[in-house]
C-alpha cells in the first residue's frame, strides 16, 4: 500500500535501519486475529486461507489465533464460529446483531474498531475481497494504523514485527512492508494467494461475545435490495480445480472459442489474459492476474499467453502449469512446469478431442466395473 515513490532500493536502505520503538500504550497489543467474512450466510473461503497463514504467525509469536465473526444471530453465524475452530482458531470474538445482516461499512467498521480497541490484537488479517477492502481501509484509518494491501507473503521478523510482502509497480517488483510503531499491524490478502489449510474436526474453543455499540437508526445507508450474480461461474474461477486460459496468441475472439471448448470438455473454468478483456473479447470477471483473479488450480493450461509478470503472479500457486506458445523463449516457460512449443490454434482442438477420448474411455471403464 505504500506509495511507490518511497520504494526504490536506495531510499529504502536508509529506512531499513528504522527500529521498532513501540509506544507504551501499544505494548498490551497481543495475538493474531483473522476476520471471518460471512456474507448472506456464506463464509468466504479466503477467511480459512488467512486462518492458515495466521496460524503460522501465531505459532512463531507464541500467541493465540482468534477469529472475528460479525453478522446477524443465527445458524450461519454459529456455524462460521464452529468452523473457525476447525481451521485453527483458538478463540473467537463474536458480534451478533440484526444490524449486521447486510454488509454496510458503517456498522461493520463500528463493530471491528470497537473489538480492536477493547481486546487489542497485534495483527489483524482480512481478505482482499470487495467487502474486506472496504472494511480494512475504513478500520485502518479510524485506528490510524498501517495497512498493507494485497499481500502475497506474511511472516514475522526476529523482533516479532509483521513482514508483509506485496507486489509493487504493477507487479514488476515485490516489497516487504512493516508497520513498526503502530498497532494493530493490518494486512489483506487476495483469495487463493494463501493455500487452504487442512480442516481438522474440533468441537470446542473459547467464544467471546461482544455487543454492537450502534443501532439501526445510527446508520444512514440503507440496502434497498440485493441482486445475486446470475453467472455463478463468476466466483468459481478462483476456486476451480482445472483452468484453461487463452491470450493474444489466439489472435481473434473466434479462436478464443477453442479455449471455451476445451474447458467445457474438461468440466473446467476458462480465463484469459488482460488484453482480451481490454479488446472486449472476454468479460473482465475472466481475467487472470494481478488486476484480475488469482487462481490455484491443480492444473492450469495457458494457450498463447506470453507470461508477463502481472499474469504470472495470478497463476503461480497452480500445482501444474502447462504452457502452449509458439515462441520457445516466451517468459511463460520460465515458470510453467510443462511446455509445448506449437501453434495453439491448431493444438487446442486436437487437445480437446484427445482429452475427450481419454476421459470418456475412463468413465466407461468405471461404469462397466
Amino acid at each position: 500500500m505504500s506509495e511507490p515513490n518511497k520504494a526504490p532500493a536506495p531510499a529504502a536502505a536508509g529506512r531499513a535501519a528504522t527500529k521498532k520503538e513501540l509506544p507504551e500504550h501499544f505494548k498490551a497489543y497481543k495475538h493474531v486475529w483473522v476476520y471471518v467474512e460471512v456474507e448472506r450466510g456464506q463464509v468466504h473461503p479466503v477467511s480459512w486461507e488467512l486462518m492458515g497463514a495466521g496460524r503460522t504467525l501465531a505459532n512463531k509469536l507464541g500467541v493465540d489465533l482468534a477469529a472475528v465473526v460479525l453478522g446477524p444471530e443465527g445458524e450461519p453465524l454459529r456455524a462460521a464460529v464452529a468452523e473457525s475452530f476447525c481451521y485453527g482458531a483458538d478463540l473467537a470474538y463474536v458480534v451478533a446483531s440484526d444490524v449486521l445482516t447486510d454488509y454496510r461499512n458503517e456498522s461493520y467498521t463500528a463493530a471491528m474498531t470497537d473489538l480492536v480497541n477493547t481486546y487489542k490484537p497485534e495483527i489483524l488479517l482480512l481478505g482482499a475481497t470487495t467487502l474486506g477492502r472496504d472494511l480494512a481501509g475504513a478500520v485502518a484509518t479510524t485506528l490510524l494504523t498501517g495497512l498493507t494491501a494485497d499481500c502475497t507473503e506474511l511472516d514475522v521478523d526476529a523482533d516479532g514485527s509483521l513482514a508483509a510482502t506485496r507486489p509493487t509497480f504493477g507487479g514488476s517488483l515485490l516489497c516487504t512492508i512493516y508497520t513498526l510503531n503502530y498497532r494493530p499491524q493490518m494486512a489483506t490478502c487476495r483469495p487463493r494467494v494463501m493455500s487452504m489449510p487442512e480442516r481438522v474436526e474440533k468441537l470446542v474453543g473459547k467464544v467471546i461475545e461482544h455487543p454492537l455499540g450502534i443501532v439501526e437508526d445510527d446508520i444512514v445507508t440503507k440496502v434497498l435490495s440485493f441482486l445475486p450474480d446470475r453467472d455463478s461461474a463468476k466466483s468459481n474461477l478462483a476456486y476451480a480445480d482445472v483452468v484453461v486460459a487463452g491470450g493474444m496468441g489466439l489472435g481473434s475472439p473466434e479462436n478464443f472459442q477453442l479455449v471455451r471448448q476445451l474447458a467445457q470438455t474438461l468440466g473446467a473454468e476458462y480465463g484469459c489474459s488482460r488484453p482480451l478483456v481490454q479488446k472486449g473479447w472476454v468479460t473482465s470477471d475472466r481475467q487472470i492476474g494481478q488486476t484480475g483473479k488469482t487462481i490455484r488450480p491443480k492444473l492450469y493450461i495457458a494457450a498463447g499467453i506470453s507470461g508477463a509478470i502481472q499474469h504470472r503472479v495470478g497463476v503461480e500457486g497452480a500445482d501444474l502449469i502447462v504452457a502452449i506458445n509458439t515462441d520457445k523463449n516466451a517468459p511463460i516457460f520460465d515458470f510453467a512446469h510443462v511446455g509445448l512449443v506449437t501453434d495453439a490454434i491448431r493444438l487446442l482442438p486436437a487437445l480437446t478431442e484427445a482429452f475427450a477420448k481419454r476421459l470418456s474411455a475412463h468413465s466407461s471403464d468405471k461404469l462397466a466395473s
Binding site: T129, F169, V220, S360
Partner: protein, 281 residues
C-alpha cells in the same frame, strides 16, 4: 452540486522496466498518465454535473509535473483543478496520503463550496491498494460507497442518492445520504473526448497550486514519511523458478497425446479427478 474527483498521475506501468542488476525502477523516459481507474470516476462526475448542474473540481497530490494530468482533466470538462504539491508530502503511504487529501478537500470546501460527492477511482496502478478512497471518507466523516457500478437517482428534497454497488456475490442497491464518497468501478462508462472549447479553455485555465500551508495542513508530522505508519524495508524482483519448463516433444506422435501423458505422469491423481469433473460429478 459540487463534486470533487481525486485523480493521481502515475507512471504508465506497461512501460516500466526494472534494472536487471540493481532491481530499481528505470524511470527515465517512462511517460505518465492519469491513473486509468480514475477516468471512470471523472466521467461519472461529469455526467452527474451535466445531469444535475453544478461544478466538478479535480484534485491531485503529486509533484509539480502532475499539473499535466490536471490539465487533461480540464480538457475532459472539469471546471477547476487543484494541485497539492509540497516536498513534505513525499513518501506518503495510504494513511499520510488520506490525511493530505482530506485536509485539501476541507480547504476546497471552504474556498469553493462544500462538496456533495467526493469521487475516487477504485485503485491506482502504482500504489494499487484501493484504500485511499475509504481513508478519505473516514477522515472527512463521509459515508463510504465503494465499488459503485452505477450512480442512480438523486433525491434533492431528502438529500439521498441511490447507487448500485458490486459486492462479492452480486450487486447491492443502496440508498445513502449526501455527502458521500464514491469509489467508482472500472468499465462502468467511457471517458468523453474533450470538446474544442474545453481544450482551448484548459490551455488557458489556471491550475490552483497549494503547498501544505496553503491547504491548511498544520501538523506536518502527519505528512509524508513522518506521517506514514508503514515502512518499506526491502524491494526485490520476484525470483525465477528453479527450473525451466520441461518441453514436450511429440516426435512422430500426436502432440496432444504426448502432452496429456506428461500431465498425468506428473499428477497421477489428476486423471481420475478430471474424469469425474468432465462427467460433471
Amino acid at each position: 452540486m459540487h463534486i470533487v474527483v481525486c485523480i493521481k498521475q502515475v507512471p504508465d506501468s506497461a512501460q516500466i522496466r526494472v534494472h536487471p542488476v540493481t532491481n530499481t525502477i528505470m524511470r527515465q523516459g517512462v511517460p505518465t498518465i492519469i491513473n486509468p481507474y480514475d477516468l471512470f470516476a471523472l466521467e461519472e462526475a461529469l455526467r452527474l454535473r451535466d445531469r444535475l448542474g453544478g461544478e466538478v473540481t479535480v484534485l491531485t497530490m503529486g509533484p509539480p509535473s502532475a499539473e499535466d494530468s490536471l490539465r487533461k482533466a480540464l480538457v475532459f470538462g472539469a471546471n477547476r483543478a487543484v494541485l497539492l504539491t509540497d516536498r513534505f508530502f513525499a513518501g506518503s503511504d495510504t494513511l499520510a496520503t488520506t490525511f493530505a487529501l482530506a485536509t485539501a478537500i476541507t480547504k476546497i470546501s471552504e474556498t469553493y463550496g462544500k462538496p456533495d460527492i467526493v469521487f475516487t477511482g477504485k485503485q491506482t496502478i502504482d500504489g494499487d491498494t484501493a484504500q485511499v478512497g475509504p481513508g478519505i471518507a473516514k477522515r472527512l466523516g463521509l459515508l463510504q460507497l465503494t465499488y459503485v457500478s452505477k450512480v442512480g437517482d438523486y433525491d434533492a428534497a431528502n438529500g439521498t442518492i441511490d447507487v448500485e454497488r458490486r459486492s462479492e456475490g452480486g450487486t447491492q442497491m443502496l440508498r445513502s445520504k449526501m455527502p458521500v464518497l464514491i469509489t467508482m468501478l472500472e468499465g462502468t462508462n467511457e471517458i468523453r473526448r474533450g470538446t474544442m472549447a474545453d481544450t482551448l479553455r484548459a490551455a488557458r485555465a489556471e491550475v490552483v497550486k497549494w503547498n501544505a500551508k496553503d491547504a491548511g495542513v498544520e501538523d506536518l508530522s502527519k505528512c509524508g514519511l513522518k506521517g506514514s505508519p508503514t515502512i518499506v524495508k526491502r524491494v526485490f524482483a520476484p525470483g525465477p523458478r528453479a527450473e525451466k519448463a520441461a518441453f514436450v516433444e511429440a516426435g512422430e506422435g500426436n502432440p496432444a497425446d504426448a502432452l496429456i501423458d506428461e500431465i498425468f505422469k506428473r499428477q497421477p491423481t489428476l486423471e481420475a479427478e478430471m474424469t469425474a469433473l468432465a462427467r460433471g460429478f
